[in-house]
Amino acid sequence: MASGMQEKQYTPSLLSFFIYNPTFGPREGEEEKKILFYHPSDVEKNEKIRNVGLCEAIVQFTRTFCPTKPAKSLHTQKNRQFFFEPEENFWMVMVVRNPMIEKPNKDGKPPTVEYQEEEMLLPSCLLQCYSMYKLFNGTFSRAMQAGGVELLMQKLEKFFYRYLQTLHLQSCDLLDVFGGISFFPLDKMTYLKIQSFVNRVEESLSLIKYTAFLYNDQLIWSGLEQDDMRILYKYLTTSLFPRHSEPELAGRDSPMRPEVAGNLLHYGRFLTGPTNLKDPEAKFRFPKIFVSAEDGYEELHLIVYKVHSLLCFLIASVELTREFCEQLDSLVGPQLTLLASDICEQFTINRRISGPEKEPQFKFIYFNHMNLAEKSTIHMRKTASVCLTSVHPDLMKILGDINCDFARVDEDEEIIVKAMTDYWVVGKKSDQRELYVILNQKNANLIEVNEEVKRLCATQFNNIFFLD
C-alpha cells in the first residue's frame, strides 16, 4: 500500500441533484408526487422523500427570519446544499460533498478525513443549470401548461440526465461565477460593416429574427437580449464549438472545399442543421431555443453558420425548409467570407501590435457586470471538461474568496492579499467592474504592489473609468 501512505485529495463532487414542487403533494402519503427529478435516480424512494422533505423544512424554517430572501445554502461539515427557486414553488437543490483530504493512519486504522471549508463558487452553477434548461425547453410552467407534470418530468429527465454528466464541479472557477462574455476587439468601420450585413440579412430573410456574430469564440454582435446571449454564449463556447472544432482539427489534411454560389467562392457551412446542403437526404432540423420576448418567451430555431473562425448565428421563428437554407447559404456565405477576411486581417494586425503570443505581462481577470464583458489572461483555454489556467489552484481559490467578499457589499473596494510563495493577489471593485490581478514579485511590499496595479490599469484599462 505504497500509495496509501500519501495524503489523498478529493475535489468537490456532486452527491445529489433534485427538483421538486411542494404544492404537488401537500398531503401525507403523497410526498413522492412532489419530486420531479432526482439524481442519482437509483436512490431508494424513502430516502428521496426524506431529503426533499428536509430541504423543504429548511427553506420554510429560514423563511420566518427573512421572508423576502429565503435560504440559499446550508453548510455542514461534510457537504453543502444549495437551494434555488427559479420559478414559483419550483425548487432546485444541489448537494455537493466538500473537498476533503484523506490522511492515512498507521496500523490499519481507517484514514482521517479532513473536510475543507473554503468558499465554493457553486450557487451560480445552479442558476446556470436552470438557464440552460430554459434555453432549450422553456420554463417549467410552460411544460406544465403544455403537458402537465408528466411532460415536465420527461423533459427534466431528458435534459438533466445528460447535462449533469457534463457538470465539472472541480473546475468551476471565477469565470463560471461571472458567466461573462468575451468580446472581440474590432475597429468601428468593420463593426459598422457587420451591422450593415446583419441588417441586410434580417431584411431580406424575414424569417430571421435575431442575429449574432462571433469571431474566434468571441462575441462581436448580439441581437438577442443580454441574458439570453449570456447563456447561449455559454452553450456555444462550452458545448457546440468544442464538439465541432475537434473533427475539424483532425481532418486537417483534407481541406474544406469552397462552395460556389453564383460566381462567388465562399466557405460557409452550417454547424446546426444540414451538414451538406447537396445531400438529398439532408435533414433540416435545427435546435429549438427559447428566448425572452416582449410577452414571455418565444420559441425559435437556432441556425449556426460558420466561415473560418467567423460565425454568425441566426435565429428564425418557424420550421425551416431546404429552400430557405439554400437561400441563406447563397446570401450569407459570400458576404460572410468577405467579412471574415476583413476581420481576420484586423485580428492579425492586433496581434502584431500586442506582440507575439508570450506569457502576458500581467495575470488578471476582468469582469464588467454591466455588459458581462470578461477578459482573462489567466485562462489559456477553457472547455467544458478542462480548464487550463496558468496559476496554482490555491490562488484561484483566493480569487473566489475575494469575489465572495465583493458580493457582500455594494461599495467600491479593494482587497490585497499576500499569498504563499511570493504571490500577491489584488482584487479591485469599481462601480460594476471587478478586476483581479495576480502578481509574482519577490520581496515586494504593499506600496509596490499597489503601484504595479495602477500601472496595469493605466495600460490595459485606459479607456474606461476605473477609480484608483
Binding site: K188, L192, N199, E202
Partner: protein, 632 residues
C-alpha cells in the same frame, strides 16, 4: 398619371415680332440676341436679348437686304452683312462717330459665308476660300487684318463660349478644321474627319451643317455629329457621335449616343445633358455622357430615360390683344418652323418666341427605376438638391423588402460628393492659411453645388421625419440610421452629434438598451460631452448608462470637472476626491463643494475624512490648515 414630361420650355420666353415679308428675324448665338429687322432697318431694328439690358431698338438706313446682323460683345459695335463681299459696321459706343464703315473681304473672288465676333473689337470673316481675322478700330472707323488662312470652306459653325470656329472642308465636307481665337490670336487646331455612313461616288458634299453642332458638356468642348441611318451601311437607327475637341492634341471620337429610331432630329444641351428632339414622334431623349453603361466598353450610351415630349406649352396672350376670358393657346411643339440653337435655345420665328429648354427633375424620379443610376444622374444636375432629398425620403417610405442595399448605395453616392467637397474646402483653407502661394494662381474657393448634401440636409429633410413616422418598423429605422453612419464613416466624415442623438432616441424608445450598449462599446457612437450627458440622463431607465457615460467622459480627458460632478451627485465623495488627486486637480479644488457633498451623506466620519484631507492640502500649500475665505 404622374407627371412624366421631364423637359419644358422656359416660362418667360423672349418675345419678338414674328418673321414676315417686311420683318426679317436673325439670331446671334454669341449674345443670344434676336434681331427683328423691319424693311432693311429703315423702319426699325428691335434687338431682344435674354435680359432687358441687352435689348436695344434703333433705326438704320436701308442699304439692301440684310443677310446677317450681330453685335460685338457688350453691344459695342454692330456688324451687318448685306452683300457677299463686304460687312458694314456701325459704332454703338457713345461719343464715337456713328456713320457706317465697311470692310471687304481680302480674298479676291471670295464670297463671305458669314462672320463671328470673338471679342468686343475682333471679328472673323468666313469666306468660301478661307477665314480672315480682323481687329476693328471704331474711333478710326477702320479694320486691320490680324491673320488669315486660305482653305476651301463649305460651311462653318461657331461656338461662342469657347470662341472656336469649325470649318467644313474638302469636297465631301467631312474634314473639319477647327480654329480657336483668344485675345487677338488665332490658332489652328488639328483637323479631323467625320466618318460618313456612306461614301458617295462621285464625291459630293455629304456632311450637312445641320448635322453638326458644337457645345461644351461638363466643361469640355464636343463636336456632335448626327449620324443618320442608312440603308446601305449596316446601321439600323440613327446615332449621335461625339468628338471630344481638346485645345491641345487631337480630336477623338469619344461617345456614341444610340437614338434607336430614325427620322429628323435636333440637338440641344441642357444642364450638361444632350437632348435629342425627334420630330416625327414629337418626343425628346436625353443622354448623360457621364453615366456609364455597365456592359458597353466604348462609351456607347442609351437614353437615360424613355422618350417623352416636351411639357405642353400654352402661349399666354398678352398685350392689348389679350382678352381675359380667352384661354391661352396651346403651342404646337416640335413644329417645323422651330429652329434649335446651342446650347439650349429653341426659336419659333413664325410665332415670335425664343425659349430656353429646361430639364425638370421631379418627373425623372419615377421614370428611372434603378435608384443608384438615378442618383448618379441627379447628382450631376444643377437644381438637384430637393429632388435628391425627396428620392431619399421616397426610398425610405416604401421600405420594401431588399431596399437596404439600395439605401446603402444611395448614401454612398451622396457622401462621395459630400466628401469631395469637404476635401476641396479643406485644402482651400490650408492653402489660404499658408499664405498666397507663389507661381500657381490663387486657388479658387470650391463651389458648393446643390449636389453637396450634408448631414444637416439629410437630418432635416429625410431622417428626422422618417424616424417619427408611424408604421415603420424600428428595425428598419435603426438599420437606415446605421447605414448612414456607416457610409459617413466609410468616407471619413465626422458624424454630427444630432445623428447619434437620433439613433439613441430611437433605441431608447424601443427599449433596445442592449443594442445601444453594444454600439457604445464599439465606439460606433463617437465620444463627446453632449453624448455623455445624454447617457447620464438615461440612467434612471437604464442604469448601465451611468458607467458608459463616465467611461466616455474619462476618454474625452477634457471632462474631469464633469466626472467630479457626477461622482459627487452620486455621493461618491471619496471616489471624487481620489479621482481629482489622480488627475492633479486637488490643489485648486473647491473644498466647499466636496464638504457639502460629504455633509449631505450624513456620514460624519466621511465628512471628517474629507475635511482632514483638505486641511492637509492647505498645510502643504500655504503652511497652515486654515481655509481661505470663500471669495463668493
Amino acid at each position: 398619371m404622374a407627371e412624366e414630361h421631364y423637359l419644358e420650355l422656359s416660362e418667360n420666353p423672349v418675345q419678338f415680332e414674328h418673321a414676315s415679308s417686311v420683318n426679317n428675324v436673325f439670331f446671334d448665338e454669341a449674345n443670344k440676341q434676336v434681331f427683328a429687322v423691319r424693311s432693311g432697318g429703315a423702319t426699325g431694328v428691335v434687338v431682344k436679348g435674354p435680359d432687358d439690358k441687352s435689348s436695344v431698338a434703333f433705326r438704320m438706313d436701308d442699304k439692301g437686304e440684310v443677310k446677317c446682323i450681330k453685335f460685338s460683345i457688350g453691344n459695342k459695335i454692330l456688324a451687318v452683312q448685306r452683300t457677299s463681299k463686304s460687312v458694314d459696321f456701325i459704332n454703338f459706343i457713345p461719343d464715337y462717330p456713328h456713320t457706317e464703315f465697311s470692310q471687304e473681304c481680302k480674298t479676291k473672288n471670295a464670297n463671305i459665308l458669314g462672320f463671328c465676333w470673338t471679342n468686343w473689337n475682333e471679328v472673323v470673316f468666313i469666306t468660301d476660300q478661307g477665314i480672315e481675322f480682323y481687329q476693328v478700330f471704331p474711333d478710326k472707323r477702320s479694320l486691320k487684318l490680324l491673320k488669315s488662312q486660305s482653305i476651301n470652306v463649305n460651311w462653318y459653325q461657331y461656338c461662342p463660349e469657347t470662341a472656336v470656329i469649325l470649318l467644313s472642308t474638302t469636297v465631301q465636307g467631312n474634314i473639319l478644321q477647327p480654329f480657336a481665337f483668344r485675345n487677338g490670336t488665332m490658332s489652328k487646331m488639328s483637323k479631323f474627319e467625320i466618318e460618313l455612313p456612306v461614301v458617295p461616288k462621285p464625291a459630293k458634299l455629304s456632311l450637312s451643317e445641320r448635322d453638326i453642332a458644337m457645345a461644351t458638356i461638363y466643361g469640355q468642348l464636343y463636336v456632335m455629329y448626327l449620324k443618320h441611318h442608312s440603308r446601305t451601311a449596316n446601321s439600323p437607327s440613327a446615332e449621335v457621335v461625339l468628338y471630344h475637341l481638346s485645345r491641345e492634341g487631337s480630336c477623338k471620337k469619344s461617345h456614341v449616343l444610340k437614338l434607336n429610331t430614325t427620322g429628323k432630329f435636333a440637338l440641344n444641351i441642357v444642364d450638361n445633358l444632350v437632348v435629342v428632339h425627334h420630330q416625327s414622334s414629337q418626343t425628346s431623349l436625353i443622354f448623360d455622357i457621364k453615366l456609364k453603361e455597365p456592359d458597353c466598353a466604348l462609351n456607347i450610351h442609351q437614353p437615360v430615360l424613355p422618350a417623352r415630349s416636351i411639357h405642353p406649352y400654352r402661349i399666354p396672350l398678352s398685350g392689348p390683344a389679350a382678352v381675359p376670358s380667352q384661354p391661352p393657346v396651346p403651342c404646337q411643339l416640335y413644329s417645323s418652323s422651330w429652329s434649335v440653337f446651342q446650347p439650349d435655345i429653341i426659336i419659333s420665328a413664325s410665332e415670335g418666341y425664343l425659349w430656353y429648354l429646361q430639364v425638370k427633375l421631379p418627373p425623372t424620379v419615377n421614370l428611372l427605376q434603378d435608384k443608384g443610376k438615378l442618383m448618379d444622374f441627379l447628382l450631376r444636375r444643377r437644381e438637384c438638391k430637393m429632388v435628391i432629398l425627396s428620392v431619399c425620403a421616397q426610398i425610405l417610405e416604401v421600405g420594401e423588402k431588399g431596399s437596404l442595399p439600395v439605401v446603402a448605395t444611395v448614401f454612398d453616392k451622396l457622401n462621395q460628393v459630400y466628401k469631395d467637397y469637404l476635401e476641396a474646402e479643406q485644402s482651400y483653407t490650408q492653402a489660404m492659411e499658408s499664405g498666397p502661394s507663389r507661381g500657381s494662381a490663387a486657388q479658387k474657393r470650391p463651389v458648393r453645388t446643390q449636389a453637396v448634401i450634408d448631414q444637416s440636409d439629410m437630418y432635416t429633410h429625410v431622417l428626422s421625419s422618417f424616424t417619427e413616422r408611424k408604421g415603420v418598423s424600428h428595425k428598419f429605422i435603426i438599420a437606415v440610421l446605421m447605414e448612414y453612419i456607416r457610409s459617413l464613416n466609410q468616407f471619413q466624415i465626422t458624424v454630427q452629434h444630432y445623428l447619434y442623438e437620433l439613433v439613441i432616441k430611437t433605441l431608447v424608445q424601443h427599449n433596445l438598451f442592449y443594442m445601444l450598449h453594444q454600439f457604445l462599446q464599439y465606439h460606433v457612437l463617437s465620444d463627446s460631452k453632449p453624448l455623455a450627458c445624454l447617457l447620464l440622463s438615461l440612467e434612471s431607465t437604464y442604469p448601465p448608462a451611468h458607467q458608459l457615460s463616465l467611461d466616455m467622459l474619462k476618454r474625452l480627458s477634457t471632462a474631469n470637472d464633469e466626472i467630479i460632478e457626477v461622482l459627487l451627485s452620486k455621493q461618491q465623495v471619496l471616489g471624487a476626491l481620489r479621482f481629482i488627486r489622480s488627475v492633479g486637480g486637488h490643489d485648486n479644488a473647491s473644498a466647499r463643494k466636496f464638504l457639502d457633498a460629504a455633509q449631505q451623506t450624513g456620514d460624519q466620519m466621511l465628512f471628517y475624512t474629507v475635511f482632514r484631507s483638505f486641511q492637509q492640502r492647505n498645510q502643504r500649500l500655504r503652511g497652515s490648515p486654515a481655509f481661505n475665505p470663500d471669495p463668493a
